[in-house]
């Protein structure tokens, strides 16, 4: 059995999500290769070659694959995947964007967001905002799978010496082009990879008050997140959102501040090891999943917490 893992990268380095996807591929078993599709992505391909246990790295380096346009990259993956039994990608916004196109081109189902591998054709995945875990079996000869990264411990980043092989196929569907992106620059760890996350909700009242979280985040080396309510209200940008349809996080410590705890938010953070909730409403549902709850006004509690750390 052979599995092709689709690398998530920025052309110069691998994103950690790739290492979680490789871990899921290892759980499925068999030989694993990595596909790095991008433009001037040689450095990312070299990084992929250093991941231990990889057979080879396929590098498709062409302007058509810059910015990971789904129309082009899906054609490439479907082409390369004809030689593999499984195609596995992390369930990031990029993986979610591209992989269903790949599955449709291959005329197979996609198994989205798996959290465990029971056997090479049977997987567990959350449905209904994680209120239910389904066990599903695929009857497709070739499987297209996306992986919930928090459910698989990342493999080591270095130690391997796989060969890098160029893929010359150029697939340009000519349907789409990249115009621009607004990417938040931050010195903080990435939300989905941070070991501590502190999130604010509607109770923060406005965007300026998120500064109260920043001092604490600095001391804890934490990433900052938010509930949907806080993003919808415009307090913080969309990439802060933790929840069913936002980012899924599972840090060692998750601190929810001024977040009531709607099921859609819980779906994104309830696998955190330790959960702290700070909320002035003692009946807030967030306390039902919190290991440590503090019923307090966040505007008093947050400065106290920052001072105590």
């Amino acid at each position: 059995m052979t599995t092709l893992v689709i690398a998530e990268h920025d052309n110069t380095s691998l994103k950690p999500a790739t290492l979680n996807a490789v871990a899921a591929a290892q759980a499925i078993g068999g030989d694993i290769d990595i596909l790095v599709a991008g433009a001037d992505c040689g450095a990312a391909a070299e990084a992929a070659a250093a991941v231990p246990g990889i057979g080879k790295v396929l590098a498709a380096d062409n302007a058509a694959y810059a910015n990971q346009l789904a129309e082009n990259v899906s054609l490439l993956i479907a082409d390369v995947a004809s030689a593999y039994d499984n195609v596995v990608a992390p369930a990031t916004t990029s993986g979610k964007n591209i992989m269903p196109r790949v599955a449709a081109l291959m005329d197979v189902a996609q198994i989205s967001d798996i959290i465990s591998v029971d056997s090479p054709d049977t997987f567990k995945r959350p449905i209904y905002a994680g209120n239910v875990i389904a066990t599903v079996q695929s009857s497709d000869a070739k499987k297209v799978i996306t992986v919930r990264t928090t459910a698989f411990d990342a493999v080591a980043e270095t130690g391997g010496t796989a060969a890098v092989e160029a893929v010359d196929a150029v697939h340009d569907a000519g349907l789409s082009s990249f115009i621009s992106e607004e990417v938040a620059e931050s010195d903080r760890p990435e939300l989905t990879a941070a070991s501590v996350v502190i999130s604010g909700g509607r109770g923060m009242q406005n965007g300026d008050n998120f500064q109260l979280l920043e001092g604490i985040a600095d001391k804890l080396g934490a990433a900052i997140g938010a509930s949907r309510a806080a993003v919808d209200a415009g307090f913080v940008p969309n990439d802060y959102q933790v929840g069913q349809t936002g980012k899924i996080v599972a840090p060692d410590l998750y601190v929810a501040v001024g977040i009531s705890g709607a099921i859609q938010h819980l779906a994104g953070m309830k696998d955190s090891k330790v959960i702290v909730a700070i909320n002035k409403d003692e009946d807030a549902p967030i306390f039902q999943v919190a290991d440590y709850g503090l019923v307090a006004d966040l505007f008093t509690a947050l400065p106290e917490l920052e001072a105590a750390l």
Partner: protein, 250 residues
Amino acid sequence: MKALVAVKRVVDYNVKVRAKADGSDVELNNVKMAINPFCEIAVEEAVRLKEAGTVSEVVVVSVGEKSCQEQIRTALALGADRGIHVEVEGRPEPLEVAKLLKGVVDKEQPQLVILGKQSIDGDNNQTGQMLGALAGMGQGTFASEIKVDGDSLQVTREVDGGLQTLKLNLPAIVTTDLRLNEPRYASLPNIMKAKKKPLDVTSPADLGVEMSSHITQLGVAPPPERSAGIKVEDVAQLVDKLKNEAKVIS
């Protein structure tokens, strides 16, 4: 320009769904059903484009059992012009839904197809992208802003790093994210009017699609339960617990 919007009937987002005791499936008896929230945003966007004069007709389609006509009527009450019900039994998989929608796209020839980015029951996040591949159209998934510009479409997408803007040739697929718009409430007169709007029923055979299944659900189970922990008295006690009991900070 014609817009096609796909909508799905799902369990209402306020319902906490549970697994049946025997683990065979989720408990869906006597559960409130509704239009999938992302699909509602899709309908709203199409209706706004019509109000702005960009779109001339909004056609809404749903794939499912007869009961999904309720959700088509909801979309008609929000301002869609006519409905198409693709009647199928059971729960078709995203690939089959995409094939059926491709059949509808071939017949209707819309310039713009808007879908929700995912349904809140299966949480698959697949159908729009699959339809894009089958119909040979470009896609703007997880859209927070769209702008029709002549024969192309500019889409701003919510991605992990922030926002990305793409240009797509029309016809194109858009899948909605939460910030695209805030759907209106249907007024009573519009709900009454919606009952008289045309709603055609079609079948997979009419669309030339043979239904098949690729995935078998072997069972469902509740996730590991998290039990509530303790309430701490003050910040000092919280920090002490995190340091000495949970050992997650130093």
